[in-house]
Every structure is written in structure tokens, then in C-alpha cells.
């Protein structure tokens, strides 16, 4: 943990009201300012106690504090370093360890993930802990808007999708592990939208996890390995721009160069810098519309994914893209900057806090009385749909920005 980064914090507290755990519990130790203080204590020699580790583990890594901080404190860097330190130094309970091991051996690997969608063959204890996480996976797929036509169980994406009309650009596309497995129709929509907007889309088949999952959970070595592989894959594909539709992946890929620099790997940092990762909405807003938008008479609530809004600063672009669709009415969700509790693997490791945040978000979403919820992150989508289901309210269909655009560009009228 870098003491200089810690010292940037002037203890003003401006980050407190945006921190989901502080919003829930109102305790200094579970606020960004308190966590930075704990980091400082540790750097100054206080051993990493169970209590301390608990407060770091309870951080969602939503980065709302980074957005709120007027002093430019790099909490993102700090928590990354801290998580790695916790993994190195802290001895976890055996059951906790087993669960973590399982998740890190599973989620970043698409093929293993696919196998898991079949009934789980796990020890009973583990299954009980992980079950809620899995249980929400398939029903939430069912609750998705049928914006996309028939949803095949697997969508095979071609290696290359030609631009429709005049070619304006050539871009690579990240398929992502969770997005690719659980929401293949989002990837299909993404590719179609890009093509209809005049992009030739290159989709290398051999891509795996981009490294986001291990990076945000204190496993830098695994993250670096994945990052190298991802860079290499897209280098080979011959593209210098990668369009990413999952917020968590996008924020990590934008950090590649910094990550490599952090371990003193100048060569890979250079290679990473030669490739630009960009969020889909960010890219489309920059590119400007070419294809015709057909009307979609819908009230849409847009959900800010933390890794998009806070980590990448992408807030206005998706809203502009949606609002530009004729007939579509955009509604704001109250407390939009507060995390829904999904936060990567958080809902698996901190189920209670995740649940509370999910319920809070579900309430705010339902209050908009929108016809459709738009969320640009697979984790958020699963989290919010399951919270809404839990509340007993009528399910609200959820779609990715790409799916809404896809429906509008293709003139689909059948929208939930």
C-alpha cells in the first residue's frame, strides 16, 4: 500500500455519502475515509487483524468514492494494493477460502463456467453458499426483455462481421466471460449495432477473461497473465481499438498499461498502450450515428454501473444514445450513483450487504415505473433482477444498451 497515495486523503469526508457500505451501516470503518485510515494504520505497523480485513472485504470496489473525492485520492489503486496484501497476509476461514478458490477457478474460465450451468457437483456446504448466486443466473435470463429475437442457448459469434454500408472503422470486440456465457444475446446485439453503424467487427475466438475478476479480488498474478493474453489476442487480430460492452472489463482494460508499469514491465505496458479499450456507449457517442433509429415507445430507466459511471466516467453517453431513440423516454433512478451490490464477486462473498443494497436499488428502480431497465453490466443485471424478484413485485425486463439500440436500428417492434 503506497503511503503517498494514502497521504493524499485530507480526511474531509466528502466520499462518505456516496459509499454504499456507509449508506448501509453509517460506520467510519466501513467508509472510504475509514478504510484509508485503516490502510494507514497497517502501513504504520498495525498488523492486519480479522477486523481490518473484514472492512476491506466489505468494500464493493464500486469507486463511487473516487468520483466524489475532490482531492483526487486514488482509492482504486489503494484498494487493489490492499486486497493483494490481504490475500498475501490474511489467513481466512477454511470455508471462506474454499469458496474463493472455487470462484476464481471458475468464473474467469468460460468453459468451466459453461459446465457450471449444469447442476452443480459440489459439496453440500459450498452449494448452499453459492446457490443463491447461481439460482439467480437462469431466471434472470428469462426475465430479460425479448428485445433480441429467439434466444438460442448459445450464440456462436463469427470471427468477423462486415460493416453495413460504407465502412467507417474496424474494431475488435471483447466477448467477456460472464457476458459471453450468461448473456450471449448482448454480444450478438453489440456486434450488430457496431456493424449497422458502419464498423467492421473483429471477434477473436480465443479470448478469455480480461483479468478484471482476479484484479478486483487481490489476485494480481492471475490478472497480469490474463491481461497479457488479451493484449496478445487482439494484437494478433490486427486491431488497435477494442470495444467492450461489460463495464467491469472495460475499466480493467483501460488500466492495462498502468498494471504492467506497476510490475515494471515496460514492454507490455507499451504494447497495452498501443491498443485502445473503449466502452461501447463511449465509442458509439464518439463515432456519431449513421444508421436510422426506429421509434421505440418505451419508458426506460437507466442504471449506472459503477465500473462505467465511477471507474470510467461514462455517464452521459449511454443516456444520450438512449434519449436519441424516437419515442423513448429516459427516466432517472434516484440515488443512481449508489452501487446495486453486485460488484463483481461481491454478492458471492458478502451476501448480506449485497442483498441489502440490491433491495435498496430494486426499490428505486421500481419507483421509476419504467417499462424497461437498461444496465450495461451483466453483474448488475443479475443482481437487480433477483432483488426485484425477491421483493415480489412484477418483474421489470432488463436489457443492455446494445440491445435497445439493436432493436431501434433494426426496427423491431416487439418490445416487452
Amino acid at each position: 500500500m503506497d503511503p503517498e497515495l494514502i497521504d493524499d486523503c485530507v480526511h474531509c469526508g466528502f466520499c462518505l455519502p456516496t459509499c454504499p457500505t456507509y449508506v448501509l451501516w453509517g460506520e467510519e470503518m466501513d467508509s472510504p475515509r475509514g478504510r484509508i485510515h485503516l490502510m494507514k494504520q497497517h502501513v504504520e505497523g498495525t498488523p492486519l487483524t480479522d477486523e481490518m480485513a473484514g472492512h476491506f472485504d466489505a468494500c464493493l470496489g464500486c469507486m463511487a468514492c473516487v468520483t466524489a473525492c475532490p482531492s483526487g485520492v486514488r482509492y482504486d489503486k489503494l484498494i487493489e494494493q490492499t486486497r493483494a496484501e490481504v490475500e498475501r497476509e490474511h489467513v481466512r476461514e477454511p470455508s471462506d477460502r474454499a469458496l474463493r478458490e472455487l470462484v476464481f477457478q471458475l468464473f474467469p474460465y468460460p468453459r468451466r463456467l459453461r459446465a457450471m450451468r449444469l447442476p452443480l457437483r459440489l459439496s453440500a456446504g459450498l452449494r448452499r453458499r453459492i446457490a443463491p448466486g447461481l439460482e439467480r443466473v437462469n431466471p434472470s435470463l428469462a426475465a430479460m426483455a425479448d428485445l433480441a429475437p429467439e434466444r438460442p442457448s448459445r450464440v456462436r459469434l463469427p470471427r468477423r462481421v462486415e460493416a453495413v454500408g460504407r465502412r467507417r472503422a474496424t474494431v475488435g470486440m471483447l466477448t467477456g466471460c460472464v457476458q459471453g456465457e450468461f448473456f450471449p444475446q448482448v454480444n450478438a446485439a453489440t456486434a450488430r449495432v457496431l456493424a449497422m453503424e458502419g464498423c467492421e467487427v473483429v471477434i477473436p475466438p480465443a479470448q478469455g477473461c480480461c483479468g478484471a475478476l482476479p484484479l478486483h479480488s487481490g489476485r494480481p498474478e492471475q490478472a497480469v497473465r490474463f491481461a497479457r493474453r488479451t493484449v496478445a489476442v487482439f494484437e494478433r487480430a490486427g486491431v488497435d481499438t477494442i470495444v467492450v460492452n461489460a463495464a467491469g472489463c472495460g475499466s480493467t482494460m483501460k488500466e492495462y498499461a498502468e498494471i504492467f508499469e506497476g510490475i515494471g514491465d515496460g514492454e507490455w505496458a507499451g504494447r497495452a498502450r498501443a491498443i485502445r479499450a473503449v466502452d461501447l456507449a463511449e465509442y458509439l457517442a464518439e463515432l456519431g450515428p449513421a444508421a436510422r433509429r426506429h421509434p421505440l415507445p418505451l419508458a426506460v430507466a437507466y442504471h449506472d454501473a459503477c465500473h462505467l459511471a465511477h471507474a470510467q466516467g461514462v455517464r452521459s453517453q449511454p443516456r444520450e444514445l438512449l434519449a436519441a431513440i424516437p419515442g423513448l423516454e429516459l427516466r432517472e433512478i434516484a440515488e443512481s450513483s449508489i452501487c446495486c451490490g453486485s460488484a463483481g464477486t461481491y454478492n458471492l462473498f458478502q451476501p448480506e450487504a449485497a442483498r441489502e443494497l440490491g433491495d435498496r436499488k430494486a426499490g428505486r428502480v421500481l419507483a421509476t415505473r419504467a417499462d424497461l431497465l437498461v444496465s450495461a453490466n451483466p453483474g448488475c443485471t443479475m443482481q437487480i433482477t433477483s432483488a426485484i424478484r425477491r421483493s415480489g413485485a412484477a418483474p421489470i425486463p432488463v436489457a443492455h444498451t446494445a440491445q435497445v439500440l439493436d432493436a431501434s436500428l433494426r426496427g423491431l417492434e416487439k418490445v416487452a
Binding site: 497521504d7 485530507v10 469526508g13 455519502p17 453509517g26 460506520e27 485503516l38 494504520q41 487483524t49 483526487g72
Partner: protein, 484 residues
């Protein structure tokens, strides 16, 4: 922990919900300071109560064990008011953040002490109302803290401080009794005495605030000047001309630099000072005053004027000012936020003296201030890694307060005295003044358990005769006061 605290902690655990008593040393330390980080003390125990009854129980237990207690809201205070006692209990209100009632017909709201200042406005905004006092820390600081500090903000020039917007308080007295102080009560204005008492007269558990009607029209103007003198001249001319803006704020070049670094507020290039003037009220009046302000600014040498066309542009103009304190973190490793008041007419002279102090000691000072009422917020910048720099900064910061006193001003405009400025109290007040204040304090807190060591330079038990004087206090002697 001492035995007494150990036992007290056990009793507190019985009286409070599970998890509401913190004794783990690592956790306790996160409460060691407020927004003023160079005063630190690890609290003996931290409690997180959820109701007035629970706070009363805590206070009574503290009384039983003779242990001091300190209230804390969000811990954004800038004078060390919420500095804990190592031998005491820190009572944190951060779990008490419900808005209990909104009564638009009577323009009032009742809230718990841990509700943030901004949350009140957010709760009533859609109905065209707001809570007027607006400290820059409004999204974080609690109403309980605001009451304790009598906090103000940019718009207090026209609308007044917290004390003008609190209608009633429910407090737990240092004896552990729950009482209500109401502005409409006949007799002594106890509410007035309590507001600004920095937690030394008891703990606020409920606040009834006045809601104000959002003005019909608001116009915000940003004027850029070559230097701070021109800006100061414009301020004097505006107010001298009879216009009372809702706010009139000034920032100097260094403060602008910090704000640019933090939030890219894009103020006019090359400005040695910017003035933000906000006018509000009936549309016709605002339009008239606006023309006047514009003319005065140009006459005083403004080289660029910007007017906000809507809420977004207004927010853009304010963004730099609102973030200025925290933003200096971008241009300096450490800093001291000072808070003092000078008569508006003395502004130019005092600013010139601050400049000289700064040059003399090699310490940069960024100036941000509520120019309308002469409330200065000099930000004294230093590098804490450089040996001696901290001391020099302290010296400059202290000298600035001396300047305020010399010019007939005050050692605090809105951040309070706390621990940080208690030593300046004797420079501003006579012993008799201070003794009289002690008597008020003792009337509420005869054992001196409620936030002891704050405001007054030498903590005294109320039974002791204040000051160096021997014998009976003159006020007691003359029959005007009673000693407890």
C-alpha cells in the same frame, strides 16, 4: 482501556443494540480525528446509538461513571470539536439519519441529528422548498454538527446562519434528560444559547428546521479580475450600493489553480481573482440588481463576465468554489484551513498583510472567502515532509487570526473554536467575558462531562472558581449569577 471504561463499555452494551459499542482498538482509531487531522486522540469507547432514548442512556451511564463524552456527526468539523477523549465515550450520530416529518404548510421539517444538510433540501426540493444554510460540506456534514457549530455557507450573507433556521431542538442534557428547546418558548432564549455551543451543553437528538421557499429567480455571475484588490473594490461597491446578493464569494489565483486541478472548472484564464455573485428573489428585482452588479464589476476592472443561463451553468460556476478546500490537496501535500472574520472595509488591508506574512515565512496562502461578510478562509499550504514547515504554517495561520482580532474581527466565522482555537479566546475576550461564558456552561453541565476541553482555554470544573481571581465571582457577588 481502564477498568472504569471496561465496565462502562459492558454497561453500554447492555443498553444499546448489538454492534453499537465499539471497543476494538483498530476500529476505535478510525475515529481519532475529524476534518482537522493534526489533533488526534483515540476514543476510549465509540457508541452508535439509534434513538434519543439510547443517547440519554449513554449520557446517564457516563454520568454514573464520571466519564466525559463527546458527540460526533460526520466528523467534517475543522476545529477539532469532535476530537475524542481517550478516557471518554464518543457518541456518533451517523445511524440516526431519518427525516421524521415534513410539514410544508408550516414550512418546517423534523429530522434526526445525523441527517445531512443536503438531504433535507433533497427531501423537499420537488415541492419548491430548500434548507437555506449551505456549508460547502453540505452533502456530508450533519444537521447536528451544523447546530453545534452554527454553520454557515455562501448564502448566509442574505439568509443568515443555522441559528436563523432552527425552530426547535430536542436535546439530551448532560444529566441525561431529554428536553425540548423551542424558539417560541417564552423566557430565556435557550435555543439560541445551545446553537453554536459545540457539543458542550448536551447532545442534539432531533432538529426542527425552517424550510425556505426556493426563490422565483436566481442569477449567478462570475467576474474575473486582474488582482484581488479590484475584486475587493467590487465587493465594497456592490454592497455599498445597497444590493444584498444571496452570495458573494471570492477566490484568489492560488485557490483558482487548485480548483482547476481538481474539478477543471474552467474559470477565465489569467484571472488573479474571481468573484461569484448570486442574486435571487422576484424576477424583476433580480434583473434590476443584476444590471447594477454587472456595471460595478466592469467599473472595478473586471476583464470577463459570465452569466449562468441555467442550473447546469450555475453548478459549473459554483463547482470550483465549492471544491476549493479539499482541492488544495492537489497543489499541496498538506494545508491548514483557517477561518476568521474581518470587517469588509478592512479586507484589502488584511489581504495585503497576509501576502506579506506569506512572503516573509515562505509559506503559500490561498484565499477563499465569503466576501460579503468578511469571512476569510485562508488556506495555508505546506509540505509536511519538510522539517519545520508545519510549524511555520501554524505560525502564519495564527498570525492571520491576530490580524483579524487587530482589525476588530473574529477568530472564527463558522468553523467554531473547538480545541484548535481555544488558546485564542483570551486574545479576543477578557477574563470576565470568559468567566461569564463558563457560568452558562456550568448551568447546563455542572460536572463538565459534555465535550470538555473545547472552546475554553483552560478546562475548569464548575465548582472551581474561574480565573486567577480568588474569592467570589463578581457576577455572583452582584447577585446577577449563581454558581454551581
Amino acid at each position: 482501556m481502564t477498568e472504569t471504561l471496561d465496565e462502562l463499555a459492558r454497561r453500554l452494551e447492555e443498553a444499546l443494540p448489538p454492534g453499537a459499542v465499539i471497543t476494538d482498538p483498530v476500529r476505535l482509531r478510525t475515529y481519532e480525528c475529524d476534518g482537522l487531522t493534526h489533533h488526534r486522540a483515540v476514543p476510549g469507547v465509540v457508541v452508535l446509538p439509534e434513538s434519543a432514548e439510547q443517547i440519554a442512556a449513554v449520557v446517564r451511564l457516563c454520568g454514573e461513571y464520571g466519564v466525559p463524552f463527546v458527540a460526533r456527526g460526520a466528523g467534517t468539523g475543522l476545529s477539532g470539536g469532535a476530537l475524542p477523549r481517550t478516557d471518554g465515550v464518543l457518541v456518533v450520530t451517523s445511524k440516526m439519519r431519518r427525516i421524521l416529518a415534513v410539514d410544508l404548510a408550516n414550512r418546517r421539517a423534523v429530522v434526526e441529528p445525523g441527517v445531512t444538510n443536503l438531504a433535507i433540501t433533497e427531501a423537499v426540493r420537488e415541492h419548491g422548498y430548500y434548507y437555506a444554510p449551505d456549508p460547502s460540506s453540505q452533502q456530508v456534514c450533519t444537521i447536528g454538527g451544523n447546530v453545534a457549530e452554527n454553520s454557515g455557507g455562501a448564502h448566509c450573507l442574505k439568509y443568515g446562519f443555522t441559528v436563523n433556521h432552527v425552530l426547535a431542538l430536542e436535546i439530551v442534557t448532560p444529566d441525561g434528560e431529554i428536553v425540548t428547546l423551542d424558539a417560541d418558548d417564552p423566557g430565556y432564549d435557550l435555543l439560541g444559547a445551545f446553537v453554536g455551543s459545540e457539543g458542550t451543553l448536551g447532545i442534539t437528538t432531533k432538529v426542527t428546521v425552517r424550510l425556505s421557499r426556493a426563490p422565483q429567480a436566481v442569477t449567478t455571475l462570475l467576474a474575473a479580475f486582474k488582482d484581488i484588490e479590484q475584486g475587493g473594490q467590487a465587493v465594497s461597491a456592490i454592497i455599498g450600493g445597497g444590493v444584498v446578493p444571496a452570495a458573494i464569494e471570492m477566490m484568489d489565483a492560488l485557490a483558482i489553480e487548485a480548483a482547476e486541478a481538481a474539478v477543471a472548472c474552467a474559470y477565465p484564464r489569467g484571472a488573479g481573482a474571481v468573484l461569484i455573485v448570486e442574486l435571487d428573489g422576484p424576477a424583476a428585482e433580480v434583473a434590476h440588481q443584476f444590471a447594477e452588479v454587472e456595471r460595478v464589476c466592469l467599473d472595478s476592472g473586471a476583464f470577463e463576465l459570465r452569466t449562468a443561463a441555467g442550473p447546469e451553468e450555475r453548478a459549473a460556476i459554483w463547482k470550483g468554489r465549492k471544491s476549493a478546500f479539499a482541492a488544495v490537496g492537489r497543489i499541496s501535500p498538506a494545508y491548514i484551513v483557517q477561518d476568521g472574520v474581518v470587517p469588509r472595509t478592512a479586507l484589502p488591508e488584511v489581504l495585503a498583510s497576509i501576502d506579506r506574512l506569506s512572503a516573509e515565512h515562505g509559506i503559500r496562502v490561498a484565499n477563499v472567502f465569503h466576501a460579503g461578510d468578511g469571512n476569510l478562509h485562508p488556506l495555508v499550504l505546506f509540505d509536511d515532509a519538510e522539517p519545520g514547515a508545519g510549524e511555520r504554517a501554524e505560525l502564519v495561520s495564527g498570525r492571520i487570526l491576530d490580524l483579524c482580532i487587530e482589525h476588530g474581527g473574529s477568530i472564527t466565522g463558522e468553523h467554531g473554536v473547538g480545541v484548535d482555537k481555544s488558546r485564542y479566546m483570551p486574545k479576543m475576550f477578557t477574563d470576565d467575558d470568559l468567566d461569564t461564558m463558563q457560568l452558562v456552561r456550568c448551568a447546563f453541565d455542572s460536572r463538565g462531562l459534555s465535550n470538555p476541553g473545547k472552546i475554553f482555554p483552560t478546562p475548569r470544573l464548575c465548582g472551581e472558581v474561574p480565573g486567577v481571581r480568588k474569592g467570589v465571582h463578581p457576577l455572583v457577588e452582584s447577585g446577577r449569577a449563581e454558581q454551581f
